[in-house]
């Protein structure tokens, strides 16, 4: 199968590596140093117990890619999604499947502008990976993926064969919203307060804030035809600040973007999405409004 991975950051490069065992895999990126180094020296990849150099992957600058492919896997930053699809629209044939595992809300509408609905496979990924520098990634956990769509089974077979555990579910939207609640709580608030998740443990009003944010996401989800389980989601959110959760000492990805790399965040696809849709539907979303306001002030201050 011929696969194009869009975005050769931590996640994109890790998926490209695993898939390249049995498939022809190309990656496109906008970071020239990354593209050149993958082509020149191969992709350096560190897995749990081994480190190797993958020289099977070809890399291109996004605007230079002109081939038709069977499967496109999207791993750009949310705010780059629309622009990337526009640049790459000639890559899609009638049979090209598109897999989106990005965090955040509203991506399916963006993808539908360029790809027919039945070819889109949506999902979530619990794989974790880190970027050490150009053409240098660490795949720190295999986690698993959960996907749905007309061609989900076909895509899952490819991923499973490559060693990326992937389950097909009848509707992944609930999982997407649940994960958005998690990110809309911790990604945003840990970025605003420059804290780890564990720093929030036992904080005054924590449970109220967690439930309030989930409630706002749920009201918008209902309007968009998704009814995720609030109690189950709260339990997943609640556990994250406790020492039972081994990731609680980490800084979430939005913190890395804004605080460490002075980059814009994905707020518009998390709390900002809820805030914007709340205004469209006439639903008050004060928590998400204030969080979005705060993140945008911080972006204005630190993004170069």
């Amino acid at each position: 199968m011929k696969i194009l991975v869009v975005g050769a950051g931590a996640m994109g490069a890790s998926f490209a590596h695993k898939l390249s065992k049995d498939n022809m895999v190309d990656v496109v990126d906008t970071w020239k140093e990354n593209v050149d180094k993958i082509n020149r020296e191969g992709l350096k990849i560190k897995e749990i117990d081994k480190e190797l150099n993958n020289t099977k992957i070809r890399a291109y600058m996004m605007e230079d890619y002109n081939e038709k492919v069977d499967l496109v896997i999207l791993f750009v930053k949310s705010m780059m999604l629309d622009k990337s699809l526009k640049t790459l629209q000639h890559v899609f044939s009638d049979n090209t499947k598109v897999l989106c595992l990005l965090n955040g809300l509203g991506h399916i509408k963006t993808i539908q502008k360029y790809v027919k609905k039945e070819n889109i496979v949506m999902g979530i990924s619990l794989v974790t990976a880190g970027l050490n520098g150009p053409a240098d990634v660490t795949l720190s956990s295999y986690g698993y993926n959960e996907i749905s769509g007309v061609y989900a089974k076909q895509v899952a077979d490819v991923l499973n064969a490559s060693g990326m555990p992937t389950n097909c579910v009848s509707d992944v939207q609930e999982s997407i919203w649940e994960k958005a609640c998690l990110n809309g709580m911790y990604n945003s608030i840990c970025t605003i307060l420059d804290t780890r998740m564990s720093d929030l443990d036992n904080a005054y009003l924590l449970e109220q804030i967690q439930k309030g944010i989930i409630e706002e996401f749920h009201k918008i989800a209902l309007k968009e035809g998704v009814d995720f389980n609030k109690e189950k989601t709260f339990e997943k959110v609640r556990i994250c600040t406790t020492k039972d959760f081994k990731g609680s000492k980490h800084y979430p990805s939005m913190h890395q973007d804004l605080r460490q790399h002075k980059r814009k965040t994905e707020i518009d696809f998390l709390n900002g999405y809820i805030s914007k849709k709340g205004k469209e539907y006439g639903i008050p979303t004060p928590y998400c409004d204030l969080i979005t306001f705060e993140i945008k002030v911080l972006e204005g201050k630190v993004v170069r």
Copy 2:
């Protein structure tokens, strides 16, 4: 007149200095270095056009003061008010008047635990001053005070005679709440985001957040018998981020406490008061809840 100023920080020391021209003024404080230096070397005071050394003021550690006085002026931090009044309760005779110009809400109830209601004069002060170190203050503006109460006229006469412009108003509660809205917006948010007021100018959703916070304060004010003018207050709040407002480049006092001096803040007497009262009255106050949560997480992180 014999006057005791409680708290010899920037404001307390400035008031003590001005009042000491025509009155016997003592100050009490909990900071030994400050007390000792005032007694040993006098209070160094810088006014707009002059710098002098006031040796007329006697200073005491709070627990050592045992005299009866005619007027007590409270200039401790809000969170120290109850404890200070308890320590000093033997200072009040039946005729002792108590003046409170502190920022924040709920102080009158605390004072009433120790002083009969008719002897209490409440107000706001627009005087600004800074503390340079022990026994060393800068009185940067004379501003004015606004007070009300049975003995407001008598207290205003003393303040005016000392060169501190003071107006008597029939009810100062509206001004106290208006000022609390200003502080509940900028003190808290500039502390959370580590920004100046001017950094918020033109921020996404700014006007909605400003109006939302004022609305929450107003709902609690109504429950407590105060109906301040929301539109007038919004206009005062709105102007604060603009370059027309010469203070917009400053960091508010809560920022100084938490970010600069790693001290606890007055949040419980601003947004935290609204949040707590909202729960008592069954009124949702999501903005104040989230702001209080955020400030308390930051306090937990930085207060030594």
